[in-house]
């Protein structure tokens, strides 16, 4: 494996991108989960599907698109979708969450149309749906790096504001912290992370990498900083173990990464259960 990593450029691309998204997806995912927006990540990734399918179809029909990396198109539509969700949320003031299924269905619907219109990109499409070890290009890696820089800078500079917005939205308004700019940027950043991650974990599983490590971390973390740290650690473990096993077993990395993170979550839940049972036992002994 180590030899192969030095020999094959595609493996380097896959692993480097994997390690980067293993960092940024759970990092942003923490804010998404505590704000109860997990479904938005799902909706946006399906919008990216529409973009990817559209781009793949057009690349068969129009020369210009055959030279264009479908990832750009996917990111573009995801960003568009994020802005649309924000817009729809204000239309349905009392049913804000309705914006999510509307956008999600639009994404799948348009995606389905393009997939059935075109012939012969099933292998490509599989890679986009469930991730791929071999399909990550240098250009893709470059895109992932740029997005990672944007995400990290955003969270670094707006940490205070994002924290208060997540913890207590009402208070953030009253104290004059809330701003449309941060809310909108947050949505766009989410779309960017989805765009960056889809090459490795696949469109259908992007949101899992943003939520499952966080779900596991929240079981053990007391502080917000701690939750952030654990989320990233678990995310990285899932990506590395997932990518290595995907390489050896020759299966889609999206599957192995997500299953690994679920296993980690179960292990943490099990450990917590054992620990609390032991504490009860210890207490009983003390009483006796």
């Amino acid at each position: 494996m180590i030899d192969a990593l030095f020999t094959y450029e595609f493996l380097q691309n896959a692993f480097l991108s994997g390690i980067i998204i293993g960092f940024i997806a759970p990092l942003l995912g923490l804010f998404i989960v505590v704000r109860r927006l997990a479904l938005i990540a799902d909706a946006l990734s399906h919008v990216a599907l529409a973009g990817i399918a559209g781009s793949l179809y057009l690349s068969q029909q129009v020369l210009f698109f055959s030279a264009l990396n479908p990832v750009y198109f996917g990111i573009g539509t995801a960003v568009g979708g994020s802005l649309l969700i924000e817009r729809l949320r204000t239309v349905y003031k009392h049913y804000e969450e309705l914006a999510i299924p509307v956008i999600l269905s639009a994404g799948i619907g348009i995606g389905a149309i393009f997939i059935s219109l075109s012939q012969g990109f099933s292998a490509d499409l599989m890679g986009y749906l469930f991730g791929s070890v071999s399909a990550v290009s240098r250009q893709d890696l470059f895109v992932v790096m740029v997005i990672a820089l944007i995400v990290v800078a955003f969270i670094y500079f707006f940490y205070k504001e994002l924290f208060i917005l997540s913890f207590d939205a009402e208070y953030s308004k009253v104290s004059g912290v809330y701003s449309r700019f941060i809310q909108l940027s947050f949505m766009v950043i989410t779309a960017l992370v989805i765009g960056a991650s889809m090459r490795i974990v696949g469109i259908l599983l992007v949101s899992s990498l943003m939520t499952v490590p966080v779900a596991a971390a929240m079981q053990i973390a007391k502080s917000f900083k701690g939750a952030m740290l654990y989320s990233i650690l678990i995310g990285e473990m899932a990506v590395v173990i997932g990518l290595v096993s995907a390489f050896y077993l020759d299966i889609a990395p999206g599957g192995t990464i997500v299953v690994t993170s679920i296993v980690l979550l179960l292990m943490i839940l099990g450990w917590k259960k054992v620990r609390s049972a032991r504490q009860v036992l210890l207490k009983e002994e003390e009483v006796v």
Binding site: V34, R36, Y156, F157, F158, Y159, K160, E161, F163, I164, S166, F167, D168, E170, Y171, S172, K173, V174, S175, G176, V177, A217, M218, A221, K222, S223, F224, K225, G226, A227
Partner: protein, 256 residues
């Protein structure tokens, strides 16, 4: 002469066709402790939301710290504590200190990161509410009364001149309510922070506050506590729209 920090002049507000506030004149000065009382649906929360800048009055002028609401950009001068029940989800992974420090967000301004000094400031606020021993605990592990103290510390962290509280004792057991109110007394007396406390409990608070305002769509009474105590039951019942028994030191009963 004490400075006026809230000044409402002839404020009207309506939700669609329903008139909620009518010709409200209301002034709070530096260092005063106001209890804003009134029955459910009397417009108390609306009035608070107007003062906090969340709602715009249909008519009338609102001045905060001498400035018109539209030109008022010093939100950090106002600390806000809401009803415990609707302010956050209890599974949130954050320590008490992280929550209190977040009260400094506005004061710090954009692009500035928290420093050691901010941590000390947050600890100081926790000491005031006597919760400094809990700084590293998860916020969800505390009792309702303790959480409410933490939220007061969050409001105090930015060293506000005015503390606005909307029914802060809802969901807190009676025993803790008494110590909660004595803490408010201390904040007002020792630290000189003006307090505007909204409540439907007219018993304990009106004894505690220096001033009382009775709201039911319009302002029925608005003055010092000793004057309020002189008002007879019938008048208060009339304002409330239903019979109200008022707590007197000698009776010890609770208002309905």
């Amino acid at each position: 002469m004490k400075k006026a920090i809230i000044e409402l002049t002839d404020v009207n507000f309506r939700y669609e066709q329903r008139i909620v506030l009518e010709h409200i004149n209301f002034t709070v000065k530096d260092g005063e402790f106001w209890a804003l009382i009134g029955p459910n649906g009397s417009g108390k929360s609306t009035l608070i939301n107007i003062i906090l800048g969340l709602l715009k009055p249909e008519q009338g002028s609102v001045k905060l710290f001498g400035e018109d609401l539209e030109h008022f950009h010093h939100r950090e001068l106002i600390g806000y504590v809401s009803q415990k029940s609707n302010s956050f989800n209890s599974g949130f992974p954050a320590t008490v200190l992280e929550v209190v420090r977040s009260g400094l967000t506005r004061k710090k301004g954009l692009f500035k990161r928290f420093t050691k000094k901010d941590r000390e400031q947050a600890m100081k606020a926790l000491e005031i509410v006597q919760m400094d021993d809990f700084a590293e605990q998860n916020i969800g592990e505390l009792s309702g009364g303790q959480q409410q103290r933490v939220f007061i510390a969050r409001a105090l962290a930015g060293e506000p001149k005015l503390l606005v509280m909307d029914e802060p004792t809802v969901g807190i057991d009676q025993q803790n309510v008494a110590s909660f109110y004595s803490m408010l007394n201390r904040l007002n007396g020792e630290h000189g922070i003006a307090i505007l406390l909204v409540t439907h409990e007219i018993d304990l608070v009106t004894e505690l506050a220096t001033h009382v305002a009775c709201l039911n769509r319009s302002m029925h009474f608005h003055g010092v506590q000793s004057d309020y105590q002189k008002i007879d039951h019938q008048s208060i019942s009339k304002w409330y729209g239903h019979p109200v028994r008022r707590l007197h030191q000698d009776e010890g009963e609770v208002a309905e």
